[in-house]
């Protein structure tokens, strides 16, 4: 898959994890939710590892899987329009 599709996959899993995290905040004893949370979390880490290897870090302050300060600075920023926005 291309960069855009890869990012979309990350966004889908990431979003599910956010919703699940909120559920677990108020239902910490839910076994089903805890299991799914762990499974999705591994999936997200795998997706991000693959993405960062190709396109550069997705988080700052040294927390990414691959450090690349030049890519951190110069890769597109999230608010920029993918089609024909200013760079």
């Amino acid at each position: 898959m291309n960069k855009h599709e890869h990012m979309l996959e990350i966004q889908k899993v990431q979003f599910a994890l956010v919703d699940l995290n909120l559920y677990l905040d108020t239902h910490p004893e839910s076994e089903g939710a805890t299991k799914d949370f762990a499974a999705l979390s591994s999936e997200l880490k795998r997706l991000i590892w693959d993405y960062e290897k190709k396109y550069g870090p997705l988080t700052n302050f040294g927390s990414a899987y691959f450090q690349n300060p030049e890519a951190w600075v110069n890769s597109p920023w999230p608010w920029e329009n993918e089609k024909g926005g200013k760079r």
């Binding site: 979003f15 599910a16 839910s30």
Partner: protein, 141 residues
């Protein structure tokens, strides 16, 4: 896109059932002065899963159908109580808000989740069954 239309019909049917049960419940309440003691009678005559000791399925049941009579009966013998709705009555503190706790079930797949805004189908636009359409309330539905 998503299964909004099917869900709406389901919700309408469920809403009618719950509405009828609630009306029964309301009638019972009206006749009781001291509901704590009077309900002992209804506890004895109640033959639901709680009085048969199946507490775990009872909990599931009440999370799914919170308006069921058995989920709102208060018994002095707390083993007779379904779910923990007796907490609503003992101690009888008023001026409390109530939000139905949400069971872990009925999920969207990942593709639909990010479009709809949640992974839980039960939380997807829950106001539809009351006919609440963007600022208007339509009681006719």
């Amino acid at each position: 896109m998503l299964r909004g239309k099917d869900q709406k019909k389901e919700y309408k049917d469920d809403f009618k059932d719950i509405k009828e049960e609630l009306e029964d419940l309301m009638d019972e309440f009206k006749d009781k002065k001291n509901y704590k003691d009077d309900k002992m009678g209804s506890c004895k005559s109640y033959k639901g899963s709680c009085s048969q000791g199946k507490k775990s399925s009872c909990l599931e049941d009440c999370l799914e159908n919170p308006a069921k009579y058995s989920c709102n009966v208060f018994c002095k013998d707390t083993d007779e109580n379904c779910y923990e709705s007796y907490k609503l009555f003992n101690p009888p503190i008023y001026a409390k808000a109530h939000i139905q706790p949400q069971p872990y079930k009925n999920f969207f797949n990942l593709d639909d989740a990010i479009i709809s805004g949640t992974i839980f189908k039960d939380l997807y636009d829950p106001y539809c069954n009351s006919g609440y359409v963007g600022g208007r309330r339509s009681y006719d539905e």
